[in-house]
């Protein structure tokens, strides 16, 4: 499903070049739930950004579903992300001026603008499955942080992606909500066979994954 070959990222700073990610080789087979664990600044988010087609590697290649994503032109890469990759970010990533259902339907609308009705039907269904049916017409500010995070998961799933990337998905949530979110990830992985890569600094969460990868100073250490 995912293959990274010698992937590296170097940022140019005023104090010289900084290697955030150093030539990482990584393979994640289809259906695996992998967790990447590391301290702040270890390079885990940069690695995830390169895997997700959000940040171009300085070197190396990333293949997702047999596609060399960084060989794609910008608009094709955007379409690939839209179709194949779902994102759950650590920040409140819902557009505040759109209703929950609009937020969830948005990736489907961007990918298939002529199928608006189906997009909204799917969005309503997903929100129902995630226990947010009563909030479909609400705005993000009207629901709790946990509910917002579930809405973000619904948005990540709307196009039925083959890869779900979660960057600190429970970073600012209470323990109970954290458990619920992790349960949903495991359910997606177990019941749908969805490939899931989660970046976290929380070892306890990471241990719920099939495989835990440790990253330090830009390199995988185990």
């Amino acid at each position: 499903m995912l293959s990274c070959g010698h992937v590296g990222k170097t940022y140019a700073t005023e104090r010289g070049d900084v290697d955030a990610v150093k030539d990482i080789d990584l393979d994640v087979p289809s259906g695996e739930f992998a967790a990447i664990v590391g301290r702040s600044g270890s390079g885990k988010s940069s690695l995830m950004a390169m895997i997700g087609g959000l940040s171009r590697p300085t070197r190396g290649a990333v293949r997702v579903a047999e596609t060399d994503i960084w060989a794609l032109a910008d608009d094709r890469l955007a379409r690939f992300r839209n179709r194949e990759i779902g994102f759950v970010f650590q920040f409140a990533s819902l557009l505040p001026t759109l209703r929950i259902i609009d937020n969830v339907a948005l990736p489907a609308l961007l990918g298939r603008p002529r199928e608006a009705k189906a997009a909204y039907q799917n969005a309503a269904e997903l929100l129902g499955q995630l226990g947010l049916a009563e909030y479909i017409d609400a705005y993000p500010a009207e629901i709790s942080a946990g509910e917002q995070r579930r809405a973000v998961i619904a948005r990540a799933l709307i196009n039925a992606p083959s890869l779900l990337l979660a960057d600190e998905p429970t970073s600012d949530l209470d323990e109970q909500t954290e458990i619920e979110i992790m349960a949903q990830f495991q359910e997606l992985n177990r019941d749908r066979g969805m490939t899931l890569i989660m970046v976290t600094h929380n070892l306890r969460l990471a241990e719920q994954a099939d495989r835990v990868l440790h990253i330090a100073n830009g390199s995988l250490v185990s």
């Binding site: 988010s45 910008d74 955007a78 609009d102 909204y120 039907q121 479909i136 799933l157 196009n159 359910e187």
Partner: protein
Amino acid sequence: MVNADIPFDAAAAGHQTARAPRPDGAGIPFLLGSLALQNLGRRKARTLLLLAAVAICSGAVFTGVVLMKSIENSMDIGFTRLGADMLIVPEGTLANITAALLTAEPTDLTFDRSLVDRLAGLKGVRRVAPQLIFRTDLSGYGGRDESVDMIAFDPERDITVQPWLERRLDRPMRPDDVIVGGRRDEALGSQLLLFGKPFTVYGSLGRTAVGTHERGLFISFETMDGLRETMRQICGARAPLEPGKISGVLVELAPGVTTQQARFAVLANLPGVKVIGGESMLTSIRQGLTALLDGVLVLMAIMFVSTAAMVSVLFSAIIAERRRELGLFQAIGAQRGHIVGMLLTEAVIATAVGAVLGCALGVLLMRLYQHSLVYYLQSLGIPFVWLSAAGTGLIALACILLASLIGAGGALVPAWRASGREPYDLIRSEG
């Protein structure tokens, strides 16, 4: 369990119909438009500032263009539409610019009608149109002592009256017909009495903003000749009522002939006349006006450029503030066109609304002009004819379109630059 692949079942999903979304689903253009509107609404103070700046700029441009076009229009009426390049009047006639712009001033000074043919025979003269203007308050028309300008003209040679006919009876003009000025409200075909004689209202002129023309009663020389004796009995032996007399001749020059050349020819061949018009007066007015118009246009161009710069700076700030949102938007699949389109839509909405407000303000401002400056000018007899409603509407539309284009142009560079950045770069750079 979460399953995005199974068919939708609202009941199974616990879909609350009480707060149901639009069932037909909002398409991406609607959502992007909606996002643009809501983003403008999020920063009310800034949006209002932008609207105000665009409104002031567009309003100034709109008002300026309409005023300048109206002035041009008024000048056209004076110089072109009335068809006369020069006005020949008896020496000693008091002439002012208003009279020169339009027609002979009501005066008892006259010259002989035979002069018309001599004038027509001069080299460089294309057409001549004699007129006799007789001002009286004894015509019996319009109530006791109402002052009326009766203007006799030659329908065959006329270049200044009939071009202004706005409405007329569907037949040729007859000797017992009268044409009424633009401010007279007699119905076509109705009868009015002049010196006790009934006349049929044959036609009505458009508004020219010149009192003599707008409130005048126009009859043919033939009709005037038939009425002359009655008029002499009532008004006494005034010079314009003597047979074969006229008040002035409007002259249209042949192409390529300057008014200066014609002036020399007239004065050399026809003693005792005065030539009004020509380059010394009319051209200087026109040239002065053109320079003023050019200056106003340059000022307007500067205003629009500064508006574009302001929009660009403002949208750079707006985009910097929303980097994370844009990055997220890209992350979920938005292409460059979506991002640029959304930001340009925002700019176009803001500038177009600002321009609409500006044009509305401009209309109010022009109403103010109408009740002050224009009223004052017209009270002095200086013609001022507003641009037509259709013309004004077109200028307003052009201002709105131009403002929208400037909004789009101003936002294009920051939007294009932002859309070209990597999503992760945008997401993590929000400060």
